[in-house]
Amino acid sequence: MKLDPRRYDEMIGRASPPSPVVRDCAWAFCVGGAICTLGEGLRQLFLIWYDKTLAGTLTSIALIFLAALCTLPGWYQKLAAKAGAGTLVPITGFANSVVSPAIEFKAEGWITGVGAKIFGIAGPVIAYGTLASFVWGVLYWLLGKVG
């Protein structure tokens, strides 16, 4: 066959339609922006009764609750199919990535399915986030000792 992998790579590049970047970004901007604006609204509401830290935490919890609610009937998935990073990057995307495997793997049991798979997608986020924060914590402690 008259084909070598390098030339084939170029052929694939030419034959594959590119992602519609402008449209993708417009969706991501609007939906991501809207979720953050909703978050800001909730934060202002919580600030009436609570301090900044607690209001922030409650905002996250409220958004996570809404995301879980929208994941159940499949709405979050439908929106994400258009919004891409607009629904992925906000904390609601994190919630969706925890809730969806929990629902999906119920068929494999509460312990071996739901419990075991619940962090299947979000696990790396927590693992490497925690590791990074630990490294920063040690550095910060050392800086304190030096300074």
């Binding site: 084909l3 034959a15 969806s100």
Partner: protein
């Protein structure tokens, strides 16, 4: 008779009966009216089915039952069944066969399974090892999605080169003698790997396999594309189709009469399936809904059915291996 990689049958066996079953998206596609069974509830919740894996098995059973009914034979008259699907360990087929009690050989050829099982069935029938052989396969969008990609409720955007796994099953009854669409020859493909790593571009990963098998077949049989009314490939989608036509033109055998099952099962522009359909059930459904009926009706006389499969697993993909492809070719039709 063997010529190169191609097995030519002097006494061609025939595909005597066939049936296709499909789900909701298939019922909205261009081939909807040709399906023997369609359901809006691909989870079979009303039948008490609790998971997608068993739902796929139920879909497969519908296809087998309808196929045997059309052939007008009881399942006890089937000598052997070749079946496979996309689930790990081919469980959809295993559980179907648990119910049917037919001697069973499970095969895995990913999306090439329909051509693979049909080819094996034809060889068994042609060599006198069996009189009536069942060839069947299926795929289920939900079972495939949760196994290969992400949970169904997980929000993610599909890339334009991705393909949509069909919720469909197809079954063919091959007979050593009798009335039906003759199987003239079969060509088992060789695995081809051109270092494609993109799991969202299966058409590109499988194209070299389709081209390789076609070239082997044309060389062995002394034919060229223009000797056929149509050449059907399985599941290359729009990207793989464009690549195959470019490659075959390079080889000096332009495909002017080529169609791809991945582009036939759905309306690729309007059904939100990105580059087209895929999954073992896709080419199986197109075979049973379009290719075999048109051959039986005389609208097509001689065709090639080349189903392609991508032979990676979730594990090898995560380990960074490239995606090997395979294609098997079945020559159908010709003078009876």
């Amino acid at each position: 008779m063997r010529r190169g990689d191609t097995l030519l049958f002097e006494q061609p066996p025939v595909v005597g009966a066939w049936a296709a079953a499909g789900g909701k998206k298939e019922s909205e596609g261009p081939l909807a009216s040709a399906f023997d069974f369609l359901t809006q509830d691909a989870g079979f919740a009303e039948q008490g089915c609790e998971n997608w894996e068993q739902a796929e098995s139920l879909l497969q059973r519908r296809a087998v039952e309808l196929c045997l009914r059309k052939a007008d034979i009881p399942r006890s008259k089937v000598d052997i069944a070749f079946a496979g699907d996309l689930q790990a360990q081919c469980t959809a087929s295993n559980y179907t066969m648990r119910e049917l009690g037919i001697p069973f050989a499970g095969v895995y050829g990913a999306c090439s399974t329909m051509a693979e099982t049909l080819a094996l069935a034809a060889v068994f029938a042609a060599t006198g090892m069996a009189e009536r052989v069942l060839a069947l396969t299926s795929s289920h969008f939900c079972a495939a999605e949760r196994q290969f990609r992400t949970p169904l409720e997980y929000g993610a955007k599909r890339t334009p080169t991705a393909q949509w796994t069909a919720t469909a099953a197809g079954a063919c009854l091959v007979r050593a003698h009798g009335i039906g669409v003759p199987v003239r020859s079969v060509t088992f493909g060789r695995v081809q790997d051109y270092a494609v790593h993109d799991i969202n571009n299966m058409g590109a990963a499988m194209m070299p396999a389709a081209a390789s098998t076609l070239l082997h077949y044309f060389a062995a049989s002394g034919t060229s594309p223009k000797d056929f009314d149509a050449i059907f490939t399985g599941d290359l989608g729009e990207v793989g189709t464009a690549l195959l036509r470019e490659q075959m033109a390079q080889e000096g055998l332009p495909l002017d009469n080529h169609k791809d099952c991945g582009c036939l099962l759905y309306d690729t522009a309007g059904q939100n399936v990105q580059a087209g359909g895929s999954g073992a059930g896709c080419s199986a459904a197109v075979l049973c809904c379009k290719i075999l009926p048109m051959l039986a009706a005389g609208q097509l006389r001689r065709v090639l059915f080349v189903a392609t499969g991508a032979l990676m697993s979730q594990t090898t993909f995560l380990q960074g291996e490239s995606i090997p492809g395979i294609a098997h070719c079945v020559e159908l039709g010709g003078a009876q």
